[in-house]
Structures are given as structure tokens and as C-alpha cells.
């Protein structure tokens, strides 16, 4: 009975998750000409990948994006969830405000990226406002098509992946623990550091996994928000795909997947996902 019920999920994941991963691993050993790919068993793609300084630079840049985005989404996400969980008093209000935070998740990422253009452009709202206030004389050039705009878009798109799991764990904290802390003379800040943050760790871990993997695997945000002037691993792969160099794209994809899975394996040591739902 159990197996029968799980079979559809298992079959879909086998066909569209496991098989594609296996295929990518196989193709990463294949060879390619300018127009076609051919089966082979050679390490050329990996050799080229690991001998090129571009690879290290791009992986470094991707990790940098991931780390900065993680730090910002964690700070913003934690503060937001903390406000919702401990400072909003009625449950109805909590649910309403929580929905306000999650609704953008169900809308288009591409549109949400496009919508930054009128803000950040050379003649955009940010520059116009700063000039009219007399803060700057010349429009700032680094607002759009820069690391700044890439990270801004990441934070905009992915902060709710932090808010939701952190809020979820915070709501399950027994309120009497907080009262006990206060009765024993802990200040609000001490309660936060010694009671709330330790109890919220599982939520933080789940949010971290989401944000880290989304940023590591991204190729469209970096391409769009940097005006194709910045690179990350995803763009390396998608450029190879554009040139029909599938074996080389596959090799890069394998290295990316290993990087992501290693980091997640480490993070998962700290949290049991099924218990946290």
C-alpha cells in the first residue's frame, strides 16, 4: 500500500530528476565539435575546467554573491519574523502580515526584476531623488548593472525564503520560556540572544539552505541585473549551452552540484527537516 501511494512521486523524480543528473554526469565525459556532441570517455572537460583561472574566479564570485545575500536576507528575514512572531499580538493580524510577506513568492521573478529598472536607471527614481535633495550632482552609475543591483535583486527575491521558515519555528516557541527568562531578570536583548536565537536555529538553517542554493544556481538574475557584465557559475553553464558545448556545460554543472550538495550536507547535520514542519 505504502509503495503504491509513493510510486507516482518516485517515478516522476526518477524520470525528471535522477535520470537528468545521471545524463549530465555521463555527458560531462563526452566530446564536442562546433556543431555536435559525441559519446566518449575523456576527462578533457574537467581538465579544461580546473586548469582555467576563469573557473576559480567565477566560482569565487558566485560564493561571494551567495554569502552577501545570505547575510542580508538573514538579518532582514530574522528581524521581520521576530516582529511578526513576538510583537504582533493577534493571530489574525499575524496571518495577514505573514501573507503580505509571502504573496510576492507566487508572482513572477522576472517581472520583479524588471520592476527595478525605473528605480535604478541613470535617470531613475533613486538618482532623481538624490539629485533633487542635493546629495549628489551627477547620477550614480553603479546603481544598475553592477554587483549592487545584482545583490539588491537577490535580497528582494529571496528574503521571504528566510522569513517563512524562521517565522514558522518562532511560532512554535513556548511563550512560557520567554516569561521564565523575564521573571529571572533577563533583559529583552538577553532573552533574544540566549533563548530565541538558539531555539530558532532550525528555521535559520532551512532558510540558509534555500537562499544559498537559489543564489548558487541562479543564472538569470545575474545576467539581467548586471546587464551581462558580471559572471557566475550559472551563466558559465548557460553560455556553454548557448554555444552548444553541452559536455563542457555538463562538467561545470557537475562541479556546481557537488559544491551545493556538500554545503547542504554540512548544514543538514544541524537540522532535521521533517521534524520542523
Amino acid at each position: 500500500m505504502g509503495w503504491l501511494q509513493a510510486a507516482p512521486l518516485a517515478l516522476i523524480l526518477l524520470a525528471f530528476l535522477i535520470a537528468p543528473i545521471v545524463m549530465i554526469v555521463i555527458v560531462s565525459f563526452w566530446g564536442a565539435t562546433e556543431f555536435s556532441i559525441f559519446p566518449a570517455f575523456q576527462f578533457d572537460n574537467y581538465e579544461f575546467l580546473f586548469s582555467s583561472p576563469v573557473t576559480y574566479r567565477v566560482f569565487g564570485a558566485t560564493l561571494k554573491y551567495a554569502f552577501i545575500t545570505w547575510a542580508l536576507t538573514l538579518a532582514i528575514g530574522f528581524t521581520t519574523a521576530y516582529f511578526l512572531a513576538f510583537h504582533v499580538r493577534s493571530l489574525t493580524m499575524q496571518i495577514a502580515l505573514f501573507l503580505v510577506c509571502t504573496i510576492p513568492f507566487w508572482t513572477s521573478n522576472i517581472i520583479r526584476m524588471i520592476s527595478w529598472i525605473p528605480f535604478l536607471g541613470r535617470n531613475g527614481i533613486a538618482n532623481q531623488t538624490l539629485i533633487s535633495w542635493g546629495v549628489i550632482d551627477e547620477p550614480l552609475e553603479w546603481l544598475l548593472y553592477s554587483d549592487f543591483s545584482v545583490i539588491l535583486a537577490f535580497v528582494h527575491l529571496y528574503t521571504l525564503f528566510m522569513v517563512v521558515p524562521i517565522f514558522n519555528t518562532m511560532m512554535r516557541i513556548d511563550k512560557s520560556l520567554l516569561e521564565a527568562a523575564r521573571d529571572n531578570g533577563a533583559s529583552g536583548f538577553q532573552t533574544l540572544v540566549h533563548v530565541i536565537i538558539p531555539l530558532t536555529k532550525p528555521g535559520i538553517m532551512i532558510g540558509t539552505i534555500f537562499v544559498f542554493t537559489l543564489v548558487m544556481g541562479d543564472f538569470i538574475t545575474v545576467r539581467f541585473m548586471s546587464g551581462s557584465q558580471r559572471a557566475n557559475v550559472g551563466r558559465l553553464i548557460s553560455n556553454d549551452i548557448g554555444l552548444m558545448q553541452y559536455p563542457s556545460a555538463a562538467a561545470t554543472a557537475v562541479v556546481l552540484l557537488c559544491t551545493v550538495l556538500i554545503v547542504i550536507a554540512i548544514l543538514l547535520r544541524f537540522v532535521n527537516i521533517r521534524k520542523e514542519l
Binding site: 516582529f83 521573478n109 536607471g121 553541452y246
Partner: protein, 278 residues
């Protein structure tokens, strides 16, 4: 009531700024999509018109966006129905240990965290090498399920973690078969969460970009079409399109949330109808 502390007001201000940050940009393009025909991509507004919305209905201005919309809508419904059915079945299965349950769980988690471009590339390669035709309703459909199913499954875990098993035991004690127990007791109780799973299934599919990129074939879905436009359209028509499709998303979300709310209200008034049909 206890007086609000100073930290409450600081945090409330922070939260307000966060919400502004979330919604400000989309509101801005909402306003700018009413730009006059001479107006540009940013402020100032050069008057007020529906020009760019009218443009959306002319194919030479924007290409086949209505075809793309129809495909995305159909695909969204397909993914939604499949996600609900498969997630519920898997959720029921995972309540007991079965052979390979741990493995399947980790596969689902992998499906969630794997970089989307790998799915796109891998599915595309398999279809190419096997000589299957790449099409949004086959390869695109499967690729999107790898994104929606883990969410559906995680929601089902959350639901069944809170599920009171004594209802089922009661049904069984009264002589209900396994199927009757599921059909008349379990499903009615978890119905509101199924609306939630459906919401995830539809909207995540409708907006999916990366996993459809190499798996949609020659007919684009709406997000692919919109992305294509960003490289060659430099007028506010793209804002009009963004406004319209976001409005559509909001309407869908509102409909689903309303559905959850109505089911909840009816339940509060009449009590659950679980067990009525047995």
C-alpha cells in the same frame, strides 16, 4: 492591554520599510505602464494613457504573448492537478515507513535544492538523445513538477504531522474500508491544505523560468516570452505586460486564499462533514 515598548515601534517601522521594499517596485511599474505614448521607461509621467495596454493586443508590437499566456495557463493547470494528486498520495505513504522511504525523501529534497539549470539541461539532453520532441507539455511539464512536487510534499508533511489519527481509527472501528477512510474522513479534513498545495502548483508553474528554459521547445511559455522581450523591447509596453500578468497572479492568489477562508468559515459554522458519507 500592556503598553507597547519602544522596540515595537522600531520593529514596526522596519517591517513597513520591508513591505515597501517588497511592493514598491511593482507598484512603480504599475503606474508607469499608464505612461503616454511619448513617455519613456522612467518618471516623469508624460500624461496618462492606455496606449501600452492597447499595444499588448497587437501582435506586431509584442509577438505572440497571448499564445504564450494560453500555454502557461494550460501548463499551470496540468501541473496543479498533478501536484495535488501526487503529493497527497505520497503524503499518505510517508506516514508509515516503507522500503526506500528515506531515499525518496532525500530525492525530493534534492529536487528542491538542485540548481534549476541542471534540470533544464539534463531533461533537454535526455529528450534530444532519445529522439523525443521537446515540448512544453511533455519535457516542460516534467521539469516543472520537480519544482512543485517537493513543495506539495513538504506541505503534506506539515499537514499530517498535525493530523489526529483517532478520526481514522474511529472510522476503521465502525467498519470503513481503507479507501472509505481516506475518501470520507481523511480527504475532507485535509481539504483546505489541498487548496494551498494547488496554489503552489499553479503559481510556481505559471512563473517558472529556469526549469522551462531548455525544455519548452519551439513554443514559449509566458515567462520565457517576457524574458525574450527584455532584450529587444525598450518601451513601457513591457511594464504594461508586467502589470497585467502580476494583476492576474494576484487575482489567482486571492481566489485561492478566499477558497481557504470560505472552507474554514463553513467548517466553523457546520462542523466538518468528515465521516458523513461513510
Amino acid at each position: 492591554m500592556e503598553r507597547r515598548s519602544r522596540s515595537f515601534y522600531i520593529l514596526a517601522a522596519f517591517f513597513t520599510l520591508f513591505v515597501l521594499f517588497l511592493y514598491g517596485p511593482i507598484v512603480t511599474i504599475g503606474i508607469l505602464s499608464f505612461q503616454s505614448p511619448q513617455g519613456g521607461l522612467t518618471f516623469p509621467m508624460n500624461g496618462f494613457s492606455l496606449h501600452w495596454f492597447r499595444d499588448l493586443f497587437q501582435e506586431q508590437a509584442v509577438g505572440d504573448i497571448w499564445g504564450a499566456f494560453r500555454r502557461s495557463f494550460a501548463l499551470g493547470l496540468m501541473v496543479m492537478v498533478t501536484t495535488v494528486i501526487v503529493s497527497v498520495m505520497a503524503g499518505l505513504a510517508f506516514r508509515k515507513r516503507f522500503w526506500g522511504s528515506g531515499l525518496l525523501f532525500y530525492a525530493a529534497i534534492t529536487s528542491l535544492v538542485i540548481p534549476s539549470i541542471l534540470i533544464s539541461l539534463g531533461v533537454g539532453l535526455i529528450f534530444n538523445q532519445l529522439g523525443f520532441k521537446i515540448h512544453w507539455a511533455t519535457s516542460g511539464f516534467g521539469a516543472q513538477l520537480t519544482w512543485t512536487l517537493p513543495f506539495g510534499l513538504l506541505i503534506m508533511f506539515a499537514v499530517f504531522n498535525r493530523f489526529d489519527k483517532s478520526f481514522e481509527e474511529a472510522a476503521r472501528d465502525q467498519g470503513a474500508t481503507a479507501w472509505q477512510t481516506i475518501r470520507y474522513v481523511v480527504l475532507p479534513i485535509i481539504a483546505p491544505s489541498l487548496i494551498g498545495v494547488a496554489l503552489f502548483g499553479f503559481t510556481l508553474s505559471y512563473d517558472e523560468f529556469a526549469r522551462t528554459l531548455l525544455t519548452a521547445g519551439s513554443y514559449n511559455t509566458l515567462p520565457l516570452e517576457i524574458f525574450g522581450m527584455t532584450t529587444n523591447v525598450t518601451t513601457p509596453v513591457i511594464y504594461a505586460l508586467g502589470t497585467l500578468t502580476t494583476a492576474f497572479s494576484f487575482a489567482i492568489i486571492a481566489a485561492f486564499l478566499l477558497g481557504v477562508w470560505i472552507v474554514g468559515k463553513r467548517r466553523a459554522r457546520h462542523g466538518s462533514d468528515a465521516g458523513k458519507g461513510v
